[in-house]
Symmetry: C2
DNA sequence: CGGCATCCGGTTCGATACTG
DNA sequence: CAGTATCGAACCGGATGCCG
């Protein structure tokens, strides 16, 4: 958290910083792989290879990158068991769970509007 | 809509089609420009140039592409007034409004967790 | 004003191979 | 098993210019 010296309300610079941070996070999170990973994790704890199987179509590389990004933003927790072969588990943090709620709504919405969308596509272009 | 002859429950082929359609829609919609446009439109009706101003950082080209995509999926309605100079207005359809609800939750979530995320970033890598 | 085409640099992404 | 590195191919996205 930023040190806020004496002013009771955030100054303009703070607001601008918050804005750009918000946009950055939004850009991180609003991409299909991140959202699908979050949805796949759900409330479970999965190994790397398990997530790989769950999120279909994702490559090894994209999964690594996105998991790192989510970890960096504090949305997933990464646990390494120093065994051989190595075992690494991923789980959503509490804030991650919150985001998952919204993702889940988006998935529901998609399912519910498949028909409408398919019909709209048939009409396009008008 | 697909003709469903006589079976009461969808057969396997239908389900697989629905799945791939769902993924396609999700991929279309789960990208930051699409989501930001939806959020910007809200319940208003905006001209092309107004959306361009509202969604900050978006280029003319990306806006056109994404508006087309959203229109194709029946999420925004495009109205052309054959005046000179031309006037084109965009508004969310009812299904689009539904999606907007989930987008809005995502934006709220982002705002609420700015602090947590910033802190998590400070700790990374552990 | 809004839309489309073109160009082109930067980034993404998948495939592959290699490490611990 | 999980992660990293590298290398092309594909795509994204901005800039520009032209048309109705």
């Amino acid at each position: 958290m930023v040190t806020k010296q004496f002013s009771g309300s955030p100054d303009e610079t703070d607001l601008r910083r918050a804005d750009s941070l918000a946009r950055e996070i939004f850009s991180d999170v609003a991409n299909k792989w991140a959202l699908l990973i979050i949805e796949a994790l759900g409330d479970r704890t999965l190994r790397f290879s398990e997530v790989l199987k769950e999120v279909d179509g994702i490559s090894h590389k994209m999964l690594t990158q996105n998991l790192r990004m989510l970890e960096r933003n504090g949305l997933v927790e990464r646990t390494v068991y120093p065994t051989v072969p190595p075992r690494v588990e991923y789980t959503l943090t509490e804030p991650g769970q919150g985001l998952r709620g919204t993702v889940h709504l988006m998935c529901d919405w998609t399912q519910q509007h498949l028909g409408h969308i398919e019909e709209a596509r048939g009409r396009f272009p008008s």
